[in-house]
Amino acid sequence: MSFLLAMIMMAIPQAEAGARVGGYARIMARPDLQGGSGRLGYWNLYGRLLNESPYAALDFDYDVLEPEMDGNEPWTTIHMRVEGGSVGGADPGNGRLDNFRLSQLYVLAGNVLLDNVSWQVGTLEKSMGDLGLYDMRPATIFFNTVGMSAQLRTDNVELIAGAGDAGYAIRGENYNPILSTGGSARWGIDHLQIGAGGQWNFESSVEGHIHAPYDTPSMQYEDWIRGEVIQSFRAENPISADRFPDPVSSTADSGHLFGYLGFGGWGPLSWNSTYLRWERTHPEGPKTETWNGESEPLHATSFTDERTVLTVGNEMLLTLVPNKLDVAWAALYGNHQDADNDIAPSDHDRWYASSVLRVQAAITPTLAWLTESSIAKEYSRNGRNIREHEDSIFSNSNGLADTRGLEFGDTDTRTTWQGKAGFVFNPLGPGIFSRPSLRLLYGLQHSNQNNAFSNHFVTTLDQYNEFGTVEQHWHHVLALEAEAWF
């Protein structure tokens, strides 16, 4: 018997060394017969459910050297991710591969130089989790950085420090190196987790480099917003021999700090995650303005370097009846401020607050009934930017038409309510985040904004508009969709 056993053991295929694959996918059909393009509302502030488009991600790992239990040999893994937001027949991109990108590539190595430390070279993104109902990750570092990081992990502590270059992620084709450095720390015991982290990016001036940060001197903010910088300059300098001012070299920096508090495992409270994040966004690069046949790049580093975003979010997961009734509740507050801009409504000068409640009741171990509701308010600080009515273009501040005004609509506040309900099929069993998940849902939205969803309506009130205008504040969608983590 012993000999037989030994022979059989020798014949056992060892773990197919190396390759491991995972990923994420969501696809949906959401006809609404109201002119929408498949989403209930504008964005995730009203809950990600029914407000997101198709998405697919494939994640690959290959163990070049597998970690061994007995021994202290180095191990190393190569990781790649391909992802994108298009699927054939489900969105305008029709699954074309130009909608996808190799978003992650890194090599991870352990047991090199230091115990309990793993080294990562390549893309460095790390996160302490998400607000699942919003699909937002405030506690993330190195989202845009390629470089090197070290991660120390013990039973209760995790430390990450890294540095690299965020230039291509932030500037794209207009590349200029942006030094990025930061780190995070997390301490935890069974029922409590505390984390903090941050990242700082610095873009230095490089003499003569056309994509380095610059400022165009003597430029007025209002002219820049209106696209009238050259016009104003030529009004004061009408002779074409007068040279448009040369850009002046500058520097740019940006960064963020975050905190994370997690606790749970008490009674019905499965877990509660609280995130706090403060961010100063990176100044913009130049944009080209053309007037009267003259084109000039306008450098606006000092016009875009005081934009900040404060985000506070909380998500609570409750198991009221195990394997039968789950509840997820989340709230989000965001405050965007732009100290450079006091005149025009903008996404950089607004605040918003939202709350989402999802209840999922298991009918059988694999079939559930889902109900979700959200309420959200968005407020523009620098004037009105929401059109409540089809003829809003005629009304601005004080109800008066202002063709030179910077406002866009007839109100500064958007209030949105959404309700969603339907059947969910979870082959792997019950749970509010059990995946794969196949859903048959009905969604309903009311907003004070006219046509508050992505659409292709004509909004002009021109007498030659052959399609006419539409006013509607209720939006309905019926959704057949699937989502999977694998």
């Binding site: 056993l5 059989i8 991600a57 994640d59 007995d70 790390k126 699942g132 990750r137």
Partner: protein, 171 residues
């Protein structure tokens, strides 16, 4: 609503297997974290998942305690021999698992559990199968034990199927 009832009508309703004599299965389960080089205690919830999965298939889980840690008993061949000695050659199963965090994806944490399941009895010999069971956990603090709990029901089902195959091979 008609559509809903149509869908529900099409759903398969699993019929329970006919009542049969319960077969005792001496069981050992181990959990390792190769990246941290740690041998971990399998959580109680996994043992319960296995117990439930076994009982649905007419099997009764009989845990076997080991000292020193089972996975330190030489090679898998030695451990299988040891298991046969403990059970006097009757049916036993050894589930050796390794859990590794694979990736972070969209704010979730992807893990993979590799399970080597060895079913052995003096009468029917040895049957070994290796499985890879991926799972996605929602929180950063979750560990190898949480990954094992998350795949517990699938592991139980697959182990029970393997035991039944092993039993059929001996008849």
């Amino acid at each position: 609503m008609v559509l809903v009832f149509a869908i529900m009508g099409c759903m398969s309703t699993k019929t329970l297997p006919p009542a049969q004599a319960t077969t005792a299965v001496a069981t050992v389960i181990t959990l390792e974290s190769p990246e941290d080089r740690e041998r971990l205690a399998p959580p109680h919830a996994v043992v319960e998942s296995l117990r439930t999965g076994f009982s649905k298939n007419g099997l009764s889980l009989q845990p076997i305690g080991t000292k020193p840690p089972f996975s330190q008993l030489g090679t898998r061949h030695h451990r299988t021999e040891w298991l046969l000695d403990q059970t006097d050659g009757s049916l036993a199963v050894m589930i050796e698992t390794e859990a590794r965090q694979r990736s972070q994806l969209g704010g979730r944490f992807q893990w993979e559990v590799t399970a080597t399941i060895t079913v052995v009895s003096k009468e029917s010999g040895v049957l070994v199968e290796q499985l890879r069971l991926p799972t996605t956990l929602p929180h950063i603090h979750q560990s190898e034990q949480d990954a094992l709990v998350a795949i517990g029901a699938r592991l139980a089902e697959k182990t029970a199927v393997l035991i039944q195959r092993h039993q059929r091979s001996g008849t």
